[in-house]
């Protein structure tokens, strides 16, 4: 039996409907604890105060985009080690490669299936723990 505890999530998504569906799927279906914010600036503040276990980060946002937000999170001691997953409609191979090179641990494609999203996030988390645990 898998008894890996669920990570506390910080969801960064500027589209209000996508944000609400993702929260609903992750909390109500998946049982995750989700904190949400609407842009990169808010993400920097919330990540520092909440110290989530995992950040789900939209790529295209007004103002600071996902890549810029990731870079800023990496500069701050309090948030530099928090694993980040991009959730984005930009899923051409060269785009996802770039996101992984920037330091994301995975990329979730939009549009997402709200029923499948929690299991997908759980899978990503378990893979991250296994990798982090092995030191590789």
């Amino acid at each position: 039996m898998n008894d890996v505890s669920l990570p506390r999530l910080l969801l960064v998504e500027d589209d209000p409907d996508i944000r609400e569906i993702a929260i609903m799927a992750l909390e109500d279906i998946g049982g995750f604890t989700v904190h949400a914010c609407v842009d990169g600036i808010e993400a920097l503040a919330q990540a520092q105060s909440i110290r989530p276990d995992l950040i789900i980060l939209d790529w295209m946002m007004p103002g600071m985009n996902g890549g810029q937000t990731l870079a800023r999170l990496r500069e701050m001691d309090a948030t530099s080690d928090i694993p980040i997953v991009f959730m984005t409609a930009k899923v051409r191979p060269e785009e996802t490669s770039r996101m992984l090179e920037l330091g994301a641990i995975d990329v979730v494609a939009k549009p997402f299936d709200p029923v499948a999203l929690p299991a997908h996030m759980r899978q990503i988390w378990e893979k991250y723990l296994a990798t982090a645990g092995s030191g590789s």
Partner: protein, 106 residues
């Protein structure tokens, strides 16, 4: 007594709101398509690309596959136009097709 579960009910509420908001944006899409077609407006093309990208990434989450498909086509066409591989007329056409898909969706 409703047989709909809580997440299902929430999903339907958000879907309804998403579709209403998307339908109310049709007039803007048509306006932009006209500007692109008539005067080759680059700013309008950029706005269509942004709108299309957003819809391509969200419509499918709400089961609106045809909107998502037409939005992806419009986004690709806008990208192709920027690279000199499409025409303003073809982009206007894909934008109008996206608008038609929105109108037809329930």
């Amino acid at each position: 007594m409703s047989a709909m579960s809580d997440p299902q009910r929430k999903y339907e509420e958000v879907r309804h709101r998403f579709l209403s908001r998307t339908k109310s944006g049709r007039a803007r899409i048509e306006e932009l398509a006209d500007a692109i077609d008539a005067i080759g407006c680059e700013k309008a093309a950029a706005e269509i690309e942004q709108l299309a990208h957003r819809l391509a990434g969200s419509a499918g989450t709400f089961g609106l596959a045809e909107i998502g498909r037409r939005a992806s086509e419009a986004e690709l066409e806008a990208n192709a136009l920027r690279r000199g591989k499409a025409t303003h007329r073809s982009l206007a056409g894909t934008a109008r097709a996206m608008s038609a898909a929105i109108e037809a969706s329930e």
